[in-house]
């Protein structure tokens, strides 16, 4: 009964990510899209917080948003997605929580 959390705003703009991390359950996934991929920038406060999440949780990001923003996605264990993979992921989890 795991949840896929979708984050679309930068961690420096809204509390989407910080609130999501507080209520993340073991086995959950997080998808970063749009400005939210800023959270993956190596050395940032958000990236440090992400390194501390439970190891059973997986981190994903939309590849095009990562590439566009010159983010080095090698620094974190993150799986990059295209849109078909994103859709497949939404179906794979029990529910989706979109933190708009």
């Amino acid at each position: 009964m795991t949840t896929l959390h979708i984050i679309n705003a930068a961690p420096t703009q809204t509390t989407q990510l910080s609130s999501c991390l507080r209520v993340l359950s073991a086995g959950d996934g997080i998808v970063f899209c749009g400005e939210a991929v800023q959270a993956l920038r190596a050395g940032s406060l958000a990236a440090q917080q992400l390194q501390g999440i439970d190891h059973s949780c997986k981190v994903y990001a939309l590849e095009e948003d990562v590439l566009a923003r010159a983010i080095d996605a090698e620094a974190l264990p993150v799986t990059l997605l295209d849109y078909p993979a994103f859709v497949a992921l939404c179906v794979a989890y029990s529910r989706v929580s979109s933190w708009t």
Binding site: T3, S19, R22, R95, V96, W99
Partner: protein, 119 residues
């Protein structure tokens, strides 16, 4: 059986239409007898502040509307205690009877519902 929904209301009542839209969804669900719970989180906890005077901004009284939720059969109401605390409202009286919940309880709430909807 109808699928259950956890509605997470995260916006302040004076900051745009998010809070009012969340309430509309809840009232519609209640009118059609759908099982829906509401969790007030982040700035959404400010919706529960007592003694608001929205008339000063010529706005509708959302806190009066919220009181109608139990009449519409929406009785599973929760508020994130941490979000009250960081806003200096840990011990404030609330305008609505809502269960104060910690992070662990929120994790459970998310897992207990079929759908999660955030506004």
């Amino acid at each position: 059986m109808a699928k259950s929904v956890l509605l997470i209301s995260r916006q302040a009542p004076w900051a745009g239409i998010g809070a009012a839209e969340a309430l509309d969804i809840a009232l519609a669900a209640g009118a059609f007898d759908l099982p829906l719970s509401i969790l007030f989180m982040d700035d959404g906890v400010l919706q529960l502040l007592d003694q608001q005077q929205p008339q000063a901004l010529e706005q509708k009284d959302l806190s009066a509307n919220l009181q109608a939720l139990p009449m519409f059969g929406i009785e599973q109401l929760y508020v994130a205690q941490h979000c009250l605390t960081v806003r200096g409202l840990a011990d404030n009286p609330l305008a609505l009877t809502a269960e104060r919940v910690d992070d662990q309880r929120i994790q459970q709430l998310i897992r207990q519902h079929d759908y999660v909807m955030t506004l």
